[in-house]
Amino acid sequence: MSAVTDAVRGAAPKPAHPLGQSVRDSLVIAKRNLIRMSRIPEMVIFGLIQPIMFVVLFTYVFGGSMQIGGSTSATDYTNFLMAGIFAQTVTFATAGAGAGIADDMHKGLIDRFRSLPMARGAVLTGRTLADLVQTALTLLVLAVVALLVGWRVGSDGSTDAARVLAAFGLLLLLGYAFTWIGALIGLSVRTPEAATSGGLIWLFPVTFISNAFVDTSNMTPWLRHIAEWNPFSATVQACRVLFANPGQSASDAWPMQHPVWASLIYSVLIVVIFRTLAVRKYRSATA
């Protein structure tokens, strides 16, 4: 152990550039979280099973009884449903981000990070970036399952690869935005368990009071307005338009008329607002 004393004592090197440091630190933390995920594969697997279950259950249980655009065919419902399931799946990444950050706080890791001369938003940015990778993986697997149960793009008009990819881009952006909400929740609760349930509960009204699983035109007016202006609905509608899948809302509400723009604006707004709040919370975080 002699080298403990032999080492030259001195402060850590100065970062070259604040932005460069920010990017570098975020990537270091993202890498750390990805390594963790690879060592806890059951977390990734559970994250996959749930949406797959939803696809199968909705398709086979509800599929026969649901009317989409006057059609009661199960295939039409699957084609309608998938945009909703994709969107719901990406928002559920919120809970993982929240639980992960709460766990880091609980174990004293956030204290360690906060005592290091690192970029202040990097711990959270790194976490959300790692979650984005996981979300992308989940979407990929889910898309394959969807194709197996009969989902097809272009079932209700024409589309192309660029539009389909754009839809997945919007889904990833929505998921990324929601992980920032999860980050704030994770920093605000006392235990990882609370972060998991706290990160999930509010997602049910957000994803169900929407156009994801049913046609909003059958809802009572006040509920319909909420559903049509729900940021989540904008992304679902955008995906249906870009996938050329049935059941697109014909509502006059602006987000339903301009779903791609609405989805983009909403997601960016969520990132800006919740990133600001979460980073502020992080700076004063106490476990």
Partner: protein, 343 residues
């Protein structure tokens, strides 16, 4: 000129609880200050304020020549912190943990890698280097945590109860590491509930209770305040207590205290070993059989008792340490069960 760690009037309130009530500290460069006190005394809160983790309500702190409140990020480049719980990522290997910390200290990837290997070697973790920290024992995690705090060989170190929950062997090993570190010139602030530990490692001791420094000095100075040495006798027979007390009072320079149930008598003395021999002869001459006799120097336990009126035990009361649940796998490590008496 203020020392490497300097604090003036630190106050921090959590709701109704005044965790810090005007803490003043001054640690000269290259020395060790032991912050000694029971749970909830304000030790951890002090460390958190000095390491930029917590903003005090009022007061001033300077670490490594930098104002903690004005230049937190510069301070962070000059300090190492080993917190109360081993803050390592249990799903990363020991090596990955240290490399990550090195990178976050803004070292270049190659340098971080080399330094990680060096530290693993120094802390006896090379064999376990590529296993996840989850598989490590409590002592190994502690060592890894300490190694992480030493990645840049910072001039100022903070260790919050570094040996809490460790078995004696690991504690001894950590003490050795700390001593080497200090002999290399590092300034260290160390908190502890173990009186023995402060006695062993610290040049200076600050006793804290209820968010204030209630006494300050070297171990010897603090002990002198409690009034010198004592003779302690345990007699074999309960009937002999009265006679023994008479004998002891004759030799002592104060009152003899008697604990009936343990048959233990204590008297303050001046005269050391020579006097002890005389006491033994006298007791023997009167036919008093003794189970145990010794010359006892005051311990920091005594110091604490005489300063605060209560023994330095882990209090169950709400404290900043308790408010945070003990992390999984490390719970139940409060000091009490592991307290050692100082001989």
């Amino acid at each position: 000129m203020p020392g490497a760690i300097y604090a003036e009037g630190l106050v921090k309130t959590f709701g109704d609880v005044k965790a810090l009530d005007g803490v003043d500290l001054d640690v000269p460069e290259g020395t060790v200050l032991g912050l000694l006190g029971p749970n909830g005394a304000g030790k951890t809160t002090t460390v958190r304020c000095l390491t930029t983790l917590l903003r005090p309500d009022s007061g001033r702190a300077v670490v490594a020549g930098l104002d903690v409140l004005k230049h937190p990020n510069e301070v962070r480049r000059s300090i190492g912190l080993s917190g109360q719980f081993a803050a390592v990522d249990e799903y990363l290997t020991g090596r990955e943990n240290l490399q990550m910390v090195g990178m976050l200290y803004q070292m270049k990837a190659g340098a971080a890698k080399a330094r990680a290997a060096e530290l693993l070697d120094q802390f006896g973790l090379t064999e376990a280097a590529d296993r996840t920290a989850k598989t490590y024992s409590g002592g190994m995690r502690r060592r890894l945590d300490l190694a992480a705090a030493l990645v840049v060989s910072p001039p100022v170190m903070f260790m919050d109860e570094p040996t809490t929950g460790l078995d004696p062997r690991n504690r001894q090993m950590l003490w050795e590491v700390i001593k080497r570190l200090v002999s290399g010139g590092t300034t260290l602030l160390l908190t502890t509930q173990y009186l023995e530990e402060a006695d062993h490692l610290a040049h200076d001791i600050a006793v804290v209770d209820h968010g204030r420094v209630i006494a300050r000095g070297t171990s010897d100075q603090l002990k002198a305040r409690t009034g010198g040495e004592r003779v302690e006798v345990v007699v074999h027979d309960r009937e002999h207590i009265a006679t023994a007390a008479e004998v002891l009072t004759g030799f002592g320079k104060g009152e003899t205290t008697v604990e009936q149930h343990t048959r233990k008598l204590t008297v303050p003395v001046a005269g050391g070993a020579k006097l002890l021999a005389e006491v033994i002869r006298e007791l023997d001459g009167r036919g008093i059989e003794i189970d145990d006799i010794g010359l006892r120097r005051p311990t920091l336990d005594d110091v604490f008792l005489s300063l605060t009126g209560h023994v330095a035990e882990a209090k169950a009361e709400e404290s900043e340490e308790d408010r945070r649940d003990a992390p999984r796998g490390q719970s139940g490590q409060s000091g009490q069960s592991e307290r050692e008496t100082v001989k």
